[in-house]
Symmetry: C2
Subunit: 222 residues, 2 copies
DNA sequence: GCAGAATGTAAGCGCTCGATTACAAACGGT
DNA sequence: ACCGTTTGTAATCGAGCGCTTACATTCTGC
C-alpha cells in the first residue's frame, strides 16, 4: 500500500474523515485503551497532532466514533427488526460487521467519558428493544435481551470461543430467537408455559432469521 | 509511615498473599490494564518491587489470580448447579460476589497472555455447562448460555444499566431460567437422563433468593 | 502578489507505566 | 559473634502515552 495515487492535497475535511475512519477501525479492533493516537494517525496517514486539532482529545474522538456508527443502524431499523438485524450483524463475517459494537465491548475499564458513551448507547438500544414486549417488566426483559446480544458478541468477537465463534449464523439465530421468544412472551411467574416454538413464536415481535443481505448497506471504507 | 499495629514482621509468604489478595481485588474492580503494580503494592502495603520478586511480572500475577479464584467455584459446584450458582453470584451484592468474573469482563483488549487465560477459563465453564444439554449442538447451546451470563454480568457490573443492574435477583433468575430452559431442551435423540434442573426449576437447583449458605458447603472465604 | 488564515509537520514536554538495580535491614545456622 | 541468605526499600531506567508547541507549507481573498 504505497498510496501514490491522487496526491492527498491539503483538505481538512478529508483528513478529518480519514482520521475518523481509522479511529473507528482501531477502536473496534483493539478497544479504547489499547489504541493510541499515533496508531490512528498512522493508519490515516496523517500527523498525530491533527487528531487534537480536529477532535480536541482522544476521548472526544471516541465519542464521535461511537455517535456516528451505531446510531445509523438504530435510526434506520424498525423496532421489530432490530433484534434480528443486530444478531445478523453480530454473526456476519468481520469485514462487514458494524464496528461500534466491537468498540463498545472492547473498551472495558476505561475512563468516565467512555463509560458515559457506553451507557447512552446501551440505553438507546434498550429503549427500542423495550417496545417488543409488554408488561411491567418490559424494560428488564429488554435489558436481558441486550445482555445476551452483548454476551454473544463477546464470545464471538472479543474473546472468540469455540464453537460459538465459528458456528453457523442461521443455527445461532434459530436458537437465540427461540429462547428470546420465550423471554419476551408474557409469562407470569409460572415457569410452566415455556414451550415456545421457533417456527411460530411471537407474531410480529420476532421476524425470525432471514439472514439475507438486506438492501441497506453501510459503506465501510477500510 | 504510621502503620504501627501488629508490625508485619518479615514474612515472605504473608506478603505474597497480601499482594495476591490486593491484585484480586483490583483486577476485579478495574481490569488488567487499568490496574498498576503500584496500586497493588499500595493496597497490600508492600513495596512494588516485590511484585516482581514474587510473581515475575504483572501478567504472571494476573494468571495466578485468575487461576486461583475462579477455579474454586468451578471445582466445588456440580454441573446442575453451576448455572444457578453463577447466576446467583452475578446477582449478588458486590461485596460477596466472585471477583474472577469481574476481572474477566473488565480485562478487555489486553495482551496475549491475558487472552489465553480468558479462553481457558471460558472453556472450563462451557465444558461444565455443556453437560446440561444433549444433542449434536450441545456445545453451541452451552456457549450461548455462557454468553448470556457474561452479558448479564456486563450490564450489571461492568457497564451498569438500569433496570437490569438493580433488578430483583429473583425476578431476573426466573426470566433467565425460563428462557434458558427453552434453549437447553433437547431437540432430538438422547432421551433425557436427568436434566430436570432447569426446565423444571427444582427448589434445590435454584435457591434463587436464598443466598444463605445452604447445607451444601460453600467454602467461599473472604 | 502578497498578507493572513488554514493545514501539515517535527520535536518534545510531562507523566505514568512495567521492570530493574543497588543497597539496607532483619533473619538464621554455626 | 560472625556471615551468608532472605526480605524489604528507594531510586531509577527506558519506553510509551496524550497532548502541546513552534514552525513550515499551502491555500485564499483582495
Amino acid at each position: 500500500m504505497a498510496h501514490q495515487g491522487p496526491e492527498r492535497r491539503r483538505n481538512a475535511a478529508e483528513t478529518r474523515r480519514a482520521l475518523l475512519d481509522a479511529a473507528t477501525t482501531l477502536f473496534a479492533e483493539r478497544g479504547f485503551d489499547s489504541t493510541t493516537v499515533r496508531d490512528i494517525a498512522g493508519l490515516a496517514e496523517a500527523n498525530q497532532a491533527l487528531v487534537f486539532r480536529y477532535f480536541g482529545s482522544k476521548e472526544a474522538l471516541f465519542e464521535e466514533v461511537m455517535a456516528g456508527v451505531g446510531r445509523e443502524q438504530l435510526a434506520t431499523t424498525p423496532a421489530e427488526r432490530l433484534l434480528a438485524t443486530v444478531l445478523r450483524d453480530l454473526l456476519a463475517p468481520a469485514a462487514d460487521r458494524d464496528r461500534s459494537l466491537e468498540a463498545f465491548l472492547r473498551s472495558g475499564g476505561s475512563g468516565g467519558a467512555v463509560s458515559a458513551v457506553r451507557e447512552q448507547l446501551g440505553e438507546e438500544y434498550a429503549r427500542v428493544l423495550r417496545t417488543l414486549t409488554a408488561g411491567p417488566d418490559a424494560a428488564l426483559r429488554a435489558d436481558l435481551v441486550l445482555a445476551w446480544l452483548l454476551g454473544i458478541g463477546l464470545l464471538r468477537v472479543v474473546a472468540p470461543k469455540e464453537p460459538l465463534s465459528t458456528a453457523d449464523a442461521t443455527e445461532v439465530t434459530t436458537l437465540v430467537l427461540g429462547a428470546v421468544s420465550t423471554l419476551l412472551e408474557r409469562v407470569d411467574r409460572a415457569p410452566a408455559p415455556a414451550r415456545a416454538q421457533v417456527s411460530a413464536p411471537a407474531p410480529a415481535a420476532v421476524p425470525a432469521q432471514a439472514p439475507a443481505p438486506a438492501p441497506g448497506r453501510q459503506p465501510q471504507g477500510t
